[in-house]
């Protein structure tokens, strides 16, 4: 038990990491998009849990809410809407490319890993208190992030919100355009 107590954080990490990778692999290999999506959901939630371990409580919440809630619903919604099952071809993978792709992916991964690991060794180490304090006073992580977000990073924050807005409009336009296209084609519009 002592081992469990002493290394609780490590054990949690490995569990979460394993589930994360499992989910990712599921996305890669599951034939049905619905299954793939559910598998992706697992990854999202586990990544959120991993955030918790690094004292990023706010991020964890956002991860679950946005990914697990918003984006996932969006995926599922689209899957339902376009009836993927009927449309998807029987061939799941691009078989002729697959080997090459795996080689390329792994190669790139290794190279990036090199870069990052060097980065880890090159950088110093903090105690994490800064992640919970603002202006010297110890608060929660949410307050700390909020303070930084709305002071130092106010302008980028606003810009990102515009990006989101534009994306939203763009999504609507894509929907409309094709509607117009269909009208011209004589079919019934939505």
């Amino acid at each position: 038990m002592d081992f469990l107590v002493a290394n609780f954080a490590e054990i949690l990490f490995y569990c979460f990491a394993a589930l994360t990778v499992a989910g990712a692999v599921g996305v890669l290999v599951l034939r049905s998009p619905v299954h793939a999506a559910l598998s992706l959901l697992l990854t999202f939630v586990m990544v959120g849990a991993l955030f918790l371990l690094r004292h990023a409580e706010l991020l964890a919440a956002v991860q679950v809410l946005v990914y697990g809630g918003g984006i996932m619903v969006l995926f599922l919604f689209v899957i339902m809407l376009v009836n993927v099952k009927g449309l998807a071809s029987s061939e799941v993978f691009l078989s002729e490319l697959a080997p090459l792709a795996v080689v390329g992916g792994v190669l790139l991964g290794i190279l990036v890993a090199f870069a990052l690991v060097f980065g880890v060794f090159a950088s110093g180490q903090g105690d994490g208190t800064a992640l919970r304090s603002a202006g010297g006073e110890v608060l929660g992580n949410t307050e700390a992030v909020g303070m930084v977000l709305y002071t130092t990073y106010l302008v980028p924050f606003e810009v990102v919100s515009v990006v989101l807005l534009v994306a939203m409009i763009g999504a609507i336009v894509f929907g409309r355009r094709s509607a117009a296209f269909e009208r011209r084609g004589g079919e019934e519009g939505p």
Binding site: E10, A24, L28, R54, L59, F93, G105, Q125, G126, G175
Partner: protein, 100 residues
């Protein structure tokens, strides 16, 4: 002790899976999901380094990444709908209007 290295390795694995997924899956929706995987990989990294450096910038950046990911998902799914309407397929290799 969990080091940043752990996180880095995990994130690299996720990234690789994502890249491979993007390249090998035919289904556009799954390709998008793979992209989301890559985003998550990046976020993991950011959080890890944020903790290590005791710097909130990493978390803030992660929030931005999530936002962009949401935007990307919205656009991408919109594209899927357009593609379905236009060519009645979700296979990415059949969307080849730009072929030279």
């Amino acid at each position: 002790m969990i080091e940043a290295t752990h996180y880095v390795v995990l994130s690299i694995i996720l990234l690789c899976l994502g890249i491979i997924g993007v390249m090998v899956r035919r289904n556009f929706i799954t390709v998008l999901m793979s992209l989301e995987l890559m985003f998550n990989a990046v976020n993991l990294n950011l959080i890890a380094f944020s903790f290590r450096l005791s710097d909130l910038a990493g978390q803030v950046l992660a929030i931005f990444v999530i936002t962009v990911a949401a935007a990307e998902a919205a656009i991408g799914l919109g594209l899927i709908i357009a593609l379905v309407r236009l060519k009645n397929t979700v296979s990415l290799d059949e969307a080849d209007l730009m072929r030279g």
